[in-house]
Symmetry: C2
Subunit: 226 residues, 2 copies
Amino acid sequence: MLELAILGLLEDQELHGYEIRKRLRDELGFFSNVSFGSLYPALSRLERSGAVEAIDADGADTPVPMTGSLSGERAAMRSTRTTAGRGRRGRKVYRITDEGRRQFAELLDREPGPDDARSFGLRLAFARYLPPQARLRLLERRRTQLEERLRRARAVQAGSARLDPYTRSLMEHTTESTERDISWLDRLIDAERSRFAATPAANHTVRAAGAADLSAAAVHTEGDTL
Amino acid sequence: MLELAILGLLEDQELHGYEIRKRLRDELGFFSNVSFGSLYPALSRLERSGAVEAIDADGADTPVPMTGSLSGERAAMRSTRTTAGRGRRGRKVYRITDEGRRQFAELLDREPGPDDARSFGLRLAFARYLPPQARLRLLERRRTQLEERLRRARAVQAGSARLDPYTRSLMEHTTESTERDISWLDRLIDAERSRFAATPAANHTVRAAGAADLSAAAVHTEGDTL
DNA sequence: GTCATCATGTAAGCCGTTACATGATTGC
DNA sequence: GCAATCATGTAACGGCTTACATGATGAC
C-alpha cells in the first residue's frame, strides 16, 4: 500500500523521501503521518527492485512538469532555488523507472485483498492512471463490498432487537453513511459510463439514456489529465 | 484493541474463543473476521495476566444472564443443551475476573493514541460500561479530532486548486461524511449532557436549556443497561 | 554559534494476518 | 463412516509504529 502511494506520487514528479511524506499527509490524506521508519525502508525496497532510481540532486534533468498542484509548484520552485545554489547534499531524490510504472499499474489494478476504505481511497486518488475499464471495475468492486456490508448490518439490526443504545446509534449511523457512500459511488459509476458512451470504444453496453442528469455528478470533468 | 473487545464481550457473559470470534464479526462488526492466529494468543495472554479464567465447561456456574441479544440467548440455549449432554470437551470457556474488569475499565478509558474510527467505534459500543464523565470525554475527544481533520482537509481544498477530479470528488465526499459524523456526535453529546442535567450529580455545567429537541437524539433511551 | 527544521536512516516491537496442523461433534 | 462444521492452537511473516541515532542547512 505504501509502495503504491509512493509510486503514484513519483508518477507525477521526482521527489525525495521527506517531501513524499508531506505529500502523503497533505495531499492524499492517507497515512496521516507515515513514519520514516516505514517510508525509507519502502524506498530502499523500491530502489532494489528497480522501480525507482535515485538521482543525485542537480537540476540537469529535473523537468519541473506543470502537472502538479500549487504546493507542487512551490516544491518545484524550492528545488530550482537549490539547483542554483549547491546540490543540497544529503537529499536523495527519486525518479520512477519504466519498471516502476509497470509495477505501479499492476499494484493499482490487481485485486486488493481487503479492499478497505483506505485502500480504495488511495486507488481512487490514482484512478486517472487507470484505463477506463479498470476504473469502472474499481468502483463497482467497492460498491459490491459496501452493498454486502449493508446487507449484513441490516440482518443484525433485524435479528437481535435488544442492542444497547450506543451500539445501536453507532450501527444506525454507520448504515446511513454506507448508504451515502453507495449513492456517491453510483454517481461516479454513472459518470464513468457516460464517458464510455461518449468514446466510441470497444464497449457495447452503451446505456445511451441516463446521461442527462450527469451535470450534477461528483466527478467534475473540467479537471485536467482526463 | 482486540483484548479490549474480548474483555468487553466477556463482561456480558462467559464465552469460548470460537464464539467470541462470531460475536466480534456479527455483533460488533469490527474485526470483520478476526483470525484465530490473533484471537487465541490474545486469550492466552489475558489468561496469563489473570484477566480471564478458563472454566471447564459444565453448566454448574453458567448464569445465562438476560442481558444479551437474541443471538446471545440462542448461544445460551446451545450451551444449556450441551450441559444436559456431556461437557463438550475441547471447548474452553472463559470468564472475566475482577482483575479483568479492572483492566477493561482502564483500557476503555485511557487515552487511545490514534483514536481512529475503529478504536472509537469499539469504545462507543462499550460506552455503557463507562462512567458518564468518561463517556462524555470519549465523545468530545472524537469530536475534536474530526473537527481537526476537517480543518486540515479544507485547508488543502482551498490551498491547491488543481486536484484531479477523482481525488477532488473523494475529498469532497470525505469532508461531507466528516461533517455528518460531527453532527451525529453533537446529538450524542447533547443527549449525554441532558442526562447529566437530569441526574443531580457533582456536575455544575448544567446547560438547563437545549434539552427540548432531544426526542430526536440518536441515543434511544428506551434501551436497557442505562 | 546555536536552534529549528530538513533529511536520512536503523532497531525493536506491536498487532494483526495467512497458512498450517490437529482433533472433536454433529448430521446424514 | 464420512463430510461439514466446530474448536483450538502454532509458525512465519507483513506492514506499520515508536524510539533512537546522525548529520546538513538556514535563520537569526
